[in-house]
């Protein structure tokens, strides 16, 4: 069937075939005419600007990953890889931190307009909140504007931009990039009377350099609002691409089809002429449609049954691995519960002993073995709060951070700690997990039965809503211990202060440690890698010694694909299995005849 499909498909689509030999560049496209791959994801694009507040999510980023090129990307190690065929960046000075970005020549948007410094300047304007309105608020509704990092308008030259940071910044390498919106598109959507793309860019550059917020306000609005589109956009400006693919067809909540970009010549060439991403939320349904042949790639959080279903599908290969999301138990320090010093009259040591005793009873290995190993036999207990297992810094940090204390369940040790602290048992621990979540209910059962042996009465405090995360309504977390997961989207070192720092918005447990606070802010400006590791060791040592909480496991991920496709190599970080889409190809057996 596959064979027949290849031939007939080519015949049908021949009218719209690509011109492969028309390119004057030495670059050779490897797109195979008439090939199409259908993959599934639990959500699809509804916003072509994946940088704006409303557009910044994984589903949008996955598609814009296919329609843009970048200076670097994460591979499946995960490690950051530079893409020199597109452009290059170079740190020219440490003090002040200066980075020079250069885009290669001949890189164009899919409408033929060159990609140049104007696009980079626009990116600077929103990423670093370069332009503000009268009240000083960032003009562009960027997801995470950092006005404190590089406030000076960068110098620009042909295809060049020189970014001068106000202070050293550890994650400078992933901080700046060109988004999915063309500078001239944003301008022309805001000012339809400007017909020439070059003129639009010139005016934009001038306005940004002069901080002309009045002229820029409509541009900023168009930049955010006009790129929202759940169906194929009416204006071609919205779906401009400078990556290997262009959005051809988008049907809300259903599918998006991307077709190879004829102009693309700066990076590895994709093989498939078309990629269709279908939205299928349920992992079982994804695997069933893989069985049925509706899609060629399925991925998601497996259950034992989904995994078995994949294993029974003879026409599919699969890969289980860690995802970047990790499960952890956090304790609450300020709610008058068993882990709050205030309960013991402000006795820090007693509270700490109770915390550590409780964490020692958490059967991490049993949880892993019973719940995760059936899904990912290679999974390991995560022992670092800051780093994902497998990342280069993970091993040195784990060796020194004191997590070894918690390696095995230690009921006797916990009992001894409680006795020493003179706490009356049983100690009641109100334990929250999201009601209706089977896996976490099972984790609760395992934790509760284990902790009971040491004298903890772990009560079921599950609720369907995550009310404790609403810090406005609940300044203190009513639960003594909570179990949930944090998702990482990059290997960036910054951002952990959001949940570890004193009084930070995601610090639901009221944890506060001066050393942690200062060391984390040191980390933000530390450029030396060894120093970075040392800082993280310092932070983690404090965290583990304080009984801040405990990390358990990485979420298992499952990617399964039809044997008619080769080159699928799932990655733990966004854009997940999409990261090497250019390597996807029909397998030899399917195209040989």
């Amino acid at each position: 069937m596959n064979i027949k499909r290849g031939a007939a498909g080519a015949a049908v689509i021949a009218a719209g075939a690509l011109v492969l030999s028309g390119c004057s560049l030495p670059y050779e496209s490897e797109v195979i005419e008439g090939t199409e791959i259908t993959v599934s994801w639990n959500d699809i694009i509804d916003n072509f600007n994946s940088s704006s507040t409303s557009g910044n999510n994984i589903a949008n980023s996955n598609v814009t990953y296919l329609t843009t090129s970048s200076f670097n990307y994460y591979d499946n190690s995960p490690e950051l890889v530079q893409n020199t065929e597109f452009g290059s960046y170079e740190k020219t000075s440490d003090d002040p931190l200066t980075v020079e970005y250069t885009i290669n020549d001949n890189i164009v948007w899919s409408d033929g307009t060159p990609l140049d410094e104007a696009d980079m300047l626009l990116s600077w304007a929103y990423i670093f909140a370069g332009v503000t309105d009268e009240e000083g608020a960032p003009l562009f509704n960027y997801a995470n504007p950092r006005a404190d990092l590089a406030s000076a308008t960068p110098e620009i030259d042909d295809n060049k931009l020189v970014l001068v940071y106000d202070k050293p910044y550890v994650d400078w390498e992933v901080q700046f990039g060109i988004g999915s919106v063309a500078a001239h598109a944003a301008v022309q959507l805001a000012y339809p009377e400007i017909e020439d793309a070059q003129e639009a860019k010139d005016q934009l550059v001038e306005a940004i350099q002069n901080k002309d917020s009045e002229w820029l306000a409509p541009v900023a609005e168009a930049w955010e609002a006009d790129f929202q589109s759940a169906n194929t956009p009416e204006s071609d400006l919205v779906k401009l691409s400078y990556g290997p693919y262009i959005v051809e067809d988008l049907v809300e909540e259903d599918y998006v089809t991307l077709v190879a970009n004829e102009e693309f010549a700066w990076g590895p060439s994709p093989k498939y002429e078309r990629i269709t991403i279908r939205q299928i939320a349920d992992p079982t349904a994804q695997v069933q449609s893989l069985q049925n042949g509706d899609v060629q790639v399925a991925s998601g959080q497996p259950t034992p049954d989904v995994l078995q279903l994949v294993q029974e599908t003879e026409t599919a290969d699969y890969h289980t691995s860690d995802e970047a999301t990790y499960e952890h138990v956090d304790l609450t320090f300020n709610n008058g519960g068993p882990f709050d010093p205030a309960t013991y009259g402000g006795d820090e040591e007693t509270a700490k002993a109770v915390r550590i005793a409780f964490l020692k009873t958490i059967p991490r290995n049993e949880i892993l073995e019973k719940l995760i190993h059936p899904l990912n036999p290679n999974a390991v207990v995560r022992n670092s709060i800051l780093q994902i297992p497998g990342s280069p810094m993970y091993d040195p940090i784990v060796e020194a951070n004191g997590s070894a204390e918690y390696a095995e369940v230690d009921i006797e040790g916990a009992k001894a700690l409680l006795e020493e602290a003179g706490v009356e048992t049983p100690v009641e621990v109100k334990f929250w997990y999201p009601e209706g979540n089977e896996r976490r209910a099972a984790e609760y059962e395992l934790i509760a039965t284990s902790a009971a042996l040491a004298g903890f009465d772990v009560t079921d405090d599950s609720e369907p809503n995550w009310e404790f995360t609403d810090t406005a309504a609940n300044p203190t977390n009513p639960h003594d211990a909570v179990i949930f997961a944090w998702a990482s989207t990059s290997l960036a070192l910054t951002g952990t202060d959001q949940y570890l720092g004193t009084g930070q918005p995601s610090n639901f447990g009221g944890y506060s440690n001066e050393v942690v606070d200062t060391r984390l802010s040191d980390l933000e400006t530390e450029l030396d890698e060894d120093e970075q590791i040392q800082i993280q060791i310092d932070v983690e040592t404090e965290l583990w010694a304080d009984g801040y909480g405990i990390t358990i496991f990485q979420f298992p991920g499952l990617t399964a694909w039809d044997q008619g496709v080769e080159g699928i190599a799932p990655a733990p970080l966004a854009p997940y299995y999409f990261w090497n889409f250019w390597e996807w190809a029909p397998s030899d057996g399917a195209t040989a005849e």
Binding site: M1, N2, K4, R5, A8, G9, V12, E36, T38, D46, N47, T53, S54, N56, N60, N141, A143, N144, P145, Q228, A230, D249, V251, E252, E253, D254, Y255, T257, R274, T276, R278, Q279, I280, A281, D282, A285, Q288, S289, Q291, N292, G293, D294, V295, Q296, T315, N465, W466, E467, T469, D470, F484, S488, T494, G495, Q498, Y499, P505, S506, D562, G564
Partner: protein, 515 residues
């Protein structure tokens, strides 16, 4: 009559208004739309939370917020809809989300309703006529079982066996030899039970239909029909003859010579003779109106022929022959679709078979501009979800029409008709049938709510992106605006269905109009 409808309309709109308030407030207090963001460690989560709280006006209590929403919704009356933005759907305007979602659900629900009514009424009526026969008991038991089945249970089973397993069969369509006689036995037995009659009739029916069924299956198997199905002129002739016989036996009876000739000319002759010229029409027309045109032509031919052969009952005959001829459109349309079978198989991504288990269309087919290919594609996507929904409401329609016909058959006027010496066919079709349909009209409106509920689940199982997905997304994310969009559509539809039922009821039953 007009004031009756107008009064009902005003009352229903008020009801809708109050109900919308109830739904709004209940949904708003049921959760937190920002929950997902609050659990996020993204550095931009805080900015997003503030942004959305502002956009959704979350600081205002829900009761007041409702009126702001109502203001926007009132704009719909003057063509300026503002139903707010949807958090669950990437902050898109709700109107846009609903507009897309409504289409596929309406398609699904309408198809399921029509099929359920057709089959339900047919099965219900035949069981009523064969009350307390083995057939009746079997069907009664089966309808009770269907009645007791959870929707998604049916959906999951159909997906596995009607979809994935059937596709695997189509990949290598070999029918085991023992299946053919069994198929014949079962077909014969079922039809024997339906047709009923005395022992001799039953044996004849059993033998005839059983052999015919087995022979047909054997023929299809030998000719490789399952691998490359087509209808062609042979299929059209077969269908037309069967169609003419069925319609004739239900309306005029098979002993009426002139009527039979009329049926033969219009319902068999016309579609077969016009098959070739219509090929060009379908090919160059390439749109839905060609179907309408063909149907009109055939109905017209049927009506004229019926009129010519009708004698003193020409009006009546023109109607039934027109109907029979019009039904001839169906094989013609299917023939068009099946002609593209090979092309279709080559485009779709399925490794074998054609029955899709997800979504409402194949992206690659959407890109072609062949109307018939797209229609075939819709068919292969709709077949399973429609069957699921249909099976569930089928049970209800069967039960109700059985009960209804039984009740009517016990009325005095039916006894009078029998006493006059009218044949059973005339008694049932002319006297009982129409009256038995009256209560069914109201059930359609009642059934609608259940169908929407069923659609929510069916769409989830088959990954359709309709109102069902809108509903579950809205509730899972406490997206009040989206939920209100869902409610507006279902509410307005329910109102429309109720009014239609009222009108139908008063049209069928004159007594209603008096009050």
């Amino acid at each position: 009559m007009f004031s009756f409808v107008a009064r009902r309309l005003v009352a229903t709109l008020l009801v809708l208004l109050v109900a919308s308030f109830v739904v709004y407030v209940l949904t708003a207090v049921s959760g937190d739309p920002l929950e997902e963001l609050r659990g996020s460690r993204d550095p931009d989560a805080q900015a997003k939370i503030a942004d959305l709280a502002n956009k959704l006006d979350l600081d205002t209590p829900p009761v007041l917020r409702y009126f702001a929403w109502l203001g926007g919704a009132a704009g719909c009356l003057v063509g300026n809809c503002d139903l707010g933005i949807s958090v669950a759907r990437g902050e898109l305007p709700v109107t846009e989300v609903i507009a897309t979602a409504m289409g596929s659900t309406l398609q699904l629900v309408t198809a399921a309703t029509i099929l359920a009514i057709l089959f339900g009424v047919a099965i219900g009526m035949t069981t009523a006529l064969r009350q307390y026969s083995g057939y009746d008991y079997t069907v009664t038991f089966a309808t009770f079982v269907f009645y007791s089945l959870p929707v998604f249970w049916v959906a999951v089973l159909l997906k596995q066996y009607g979809g994935i397993a059937f596709n695997q069969f189509l990949g290598d369509p070999v029918i085991p030899w023992w299946f053919i006689p069994i198929f014949g036995l079962v077909t014969g037995f079922i039809l024997m039970a339906v047709v009923g009659g005395g022992l001799a009739t039953r044996i004849k029916t059993f033998l005839f239909t059983g052999l015919a069924g087995a022979a047909l299956l054997l023929l299809l198997d030998v000719t490789g029909w399952f691998a490359e199905p087509s209808i062609g002129i042979v299929g059209i002739i077969l269908f037309s003859v069967a169609n003419a016989l069925i319609v004739a036996s239900l309306t005029t009876g098979l002993r009426d010579k002139p009527a039979l000739i009329a049926f033969g000319i219009a319902a068999v002759g016309a579609p077969v003779a016009l098959w070739f010229p219509f090929q060009f029409l379908f090919f160059f027309g390439n749109a839905w109106w060609t179907i309408a045109l063909v149907a009109i032509i055939l109905v017209a031919i049927g009506a004229i022929v019926g009129w010519l052969f009708g004698g003193d009952r020409r009006g009546n005959l023109a109607r039934v022959v027109g109907l029979a001829a019009g039904l001839g459109t169906i094989p013609l349309v299917f023939d068009q679709m099946f002609q593209r079978w090979a092309t279709y198989e080559s485009i779709i991504p399925l490794s074998s078979g054609v029955i899709s288990t997800i979504g409402s269309s194949t992206p690659a087919i959407d890109r072609t501009d062949d109307y018939w290919l797209q229609m075939l594609d819709s068919l292969t996507h709709m077949i399973l979800p429609t069957a699921t929904l249909m099976l569930i409401s089928l049970a209800a329609y069967t039960r109700y029409s059985r009960a209804s016909l039984l009740e009517v058959m016990n009325q005095d006027y039916v006894r009078t008709a029998r006493a006059k010496g009218l044949s059973e066919r005339v008694v049932v079709m002319r006297h009982a049938f129409r009256n038995a349909m009256i209560p069914i009209a109201t059930i359609i409106a009642f059934d609608f709510g259940g169908l929407i509920g069923g659609a929510v689940i069916t769409e989830t199982v088959f990954a359709w992106k309709g109102m069902g997905a809108v509903f579950s997304d809205a509730l899972a994310r406490t997206d009040v605006n989206l939920m209100m969009g869902f409610f507006l559509v279902t509410g307005v539809l329910a109102v429309i269905f109720n009014i239609i039922a009222d009108l139908l009821y008063s049209a069928l039953d004159p007594r209603i109009r008096v009050s």
